[in-house]
Symmetry: C2
């Protein structure tokens, strides 16, 4: 959960950014209070401008370290007339990723493209008795939106593309679709329900890689969690190459805390190794500060730091975040 | 005409950005040579990242004043299967703008949404004998793309929406569509053809306003050109609120040069007055440098300048551009 200001400061996104873009694409202009108290406007309420540096995009995702966002002009889009969901079940993560790439290559842009890996799907089914899903497999949820005619066509096309690759596919809408989305949104809550004594916590990672590297990332995460013997639930925005990994430990067990830190560290390094990012949509803050320099390289990191110093010479804005000294 | 590097440095766009976004939306990462010779990479080849300041977007549109872009990772999209064009002719600029707003409000996103005002259309017809357009009016070109089924539906919907507002509408495709686009692309060349002695030049302006202010902008431009007695051809990307104005003068006439400067100045100020930008897609450079501070306000301009100083303390990168002292 977050506020509009928080969404902008973290360049947040979510399930529908695969079609609609992240917050960055929706901010027309910002009012920002600078470190010295001056108030600036970063742009105009126009759809297109090429007039000076893109200050708006500099503040989007800056996590409060360059200024305090006090007002924002947002672009809005009409609510779609119809939505449909295509469920596709796969034997292997590799094949699921391949199906996703084939759908996009055909010029189809789903309004959401999510994956729930097998164990995550099982947990969701345990906790949501209304979920009418019998399959035990990796599940991809493709959503399409638009007019009745265009969603019908896109849903049929996606099902056709997936058919030769999938164990099964089906198109759902209405209440059944709503139930599935409601369950998907509560992955975190479902996980907690499995632990009635509340002694276990989970830490959610947010790594991202080029889509073609998703199967490799999944394999690495499985190896890491397996070796350290930590349960890991995997799900994510596969259409953007963004994988969430929920790692579970018992809060009372010191050894498990150490394992958790080690697992998280290895997952971040695996993403970097595959040409990816340690955060696709959650941001850096304190938790991922140690990886930012590694991801960017020293020169790009020090460039960021020189921008930070130019805008906040006294270091009073959200100090300590992003790993700036 | 420009190179990929030039497009990125100016955050250029064009007719199809109304659906597909400007260059900013297509750059995944950049290799940039900084003022001190260091080479940085601004990001990773992932579709989504929230890891530090958006250096990529800072360099997009920076007009070579912060670093030299030497390599770029671009997102590409599949070529659409079909395109169709809806021509709609209007009596008044106000009604044409209203039709555009209605189309977008219905959730339809055309792949292009262009306007050719009456005199511009006449010139195009004079220079392109193959253009089968009898109407003398303000013309809007809506293009839709996608599958056969979805483009058919969207084209019908747009024609329906325009019908009660327009003098006439029709849907074209194939060769007829290609001829119209070819003519539209050569507006500038057509203008020159009218002047066999080549004594006249035109200066193209690139102002942008919120779409709802387009009729007001058109009225102001007509008044400005009328009072100064300078021929002005108006056309543009109305779906983005971007108006191009081509102003004509005789190069040999000193008085006309002065009038031209005055007209351009007034057009820029009219755009600012209507909450707009002095450049939607061409950039600031030298020609519009004097307006940048006015558009941004002193504090935002000086913030840009402090970024410039932090990245290029000796001022060796494209000096004099954007009005930095």
């Amino acid at each position: 959960m977050c506020t509009i200001g928080g969404m902008i400061a973290n360049n947040s996104s979510g399930m529908r950014c695969v079609k609609y873009g992240t917050v960055r694409n929706y901010v027309l202009d910002l009012e920002v209070v600078l470190a010295d108290g001056r108030v600036i406007h970063t742009g105009k309420k126009v759809l297109k401008s090429s007039a000076g540096y893109d200050l708006t995009r500099l503040f989007v995702g800056s996590e409060g370290t360059l200024g305090v966002i006090t007002r924002a002009g947002l672009k809005i889009v009409p609510f779609p007339k119809t939505r449909k969901l295509i469920l596709a079940f796969f034997d292997e993560a590799d094949i699921a990723s391949h199906a996703v790439i084939k759908v996009f290559s055909e010029g189809i842009t789903p309004s959401a493209c999510e994956i729930l890996y097998k164990t995550t799907l099982s947990v969701l089914k345990l906790c949501n008795s209304r979920l009418a899903i019998a399959e035990e497999a990796d599940m991809i949820l493709f959503e399409v939106d638009g007019t009745e005619i265009s969603t019908d066509e896109a849903a049929r096309q996606i099902a056709e593309i997936c058919k030769p690759l999938a164990l099964s596919t089906r198109i759902v809408s209405g209440l059944e679709m709503q139930d599935i989305w409601a369950a998907r949104r509560l992955v975190g809550a479902a996980i907690s329900q499995l632990d009635p004594h509340k002694t276990r916590v989970y830490m959610g990672e947010d790594v991202g890689v080029p889509i073609k590297e998703m199967p490799a990332l999944i394999r690495r995460v499985q190896q890491i969690a397996g070796k350290l013997d930590i349960p890991a639930m995997k799900y994510g925005h596969i259409g953007d190459g963004n994988l969430h990994v929920a790692l579970f430990i018992d809060v009372a067990d010191q050894l498990q805390w150490e394992k958790l830190r080690l697992a998280a560290d290895r997952i971040h390094r695996a993403a970097l190794d595959l040409g990816g990012t340690v955060s696709s949509e959650h941001g850096i803050g304190l938790a991922r500060a140690e990886y930012l320099m590694e991801q960017l390289g020293w020169d790009a990191f020090s460039l960021m730091h020189s921008i930070k110093r130019a805008l906040d010479p006294k270091g009073i804005l959200n100090p300590g975040k992003m790993g700036f000294p």
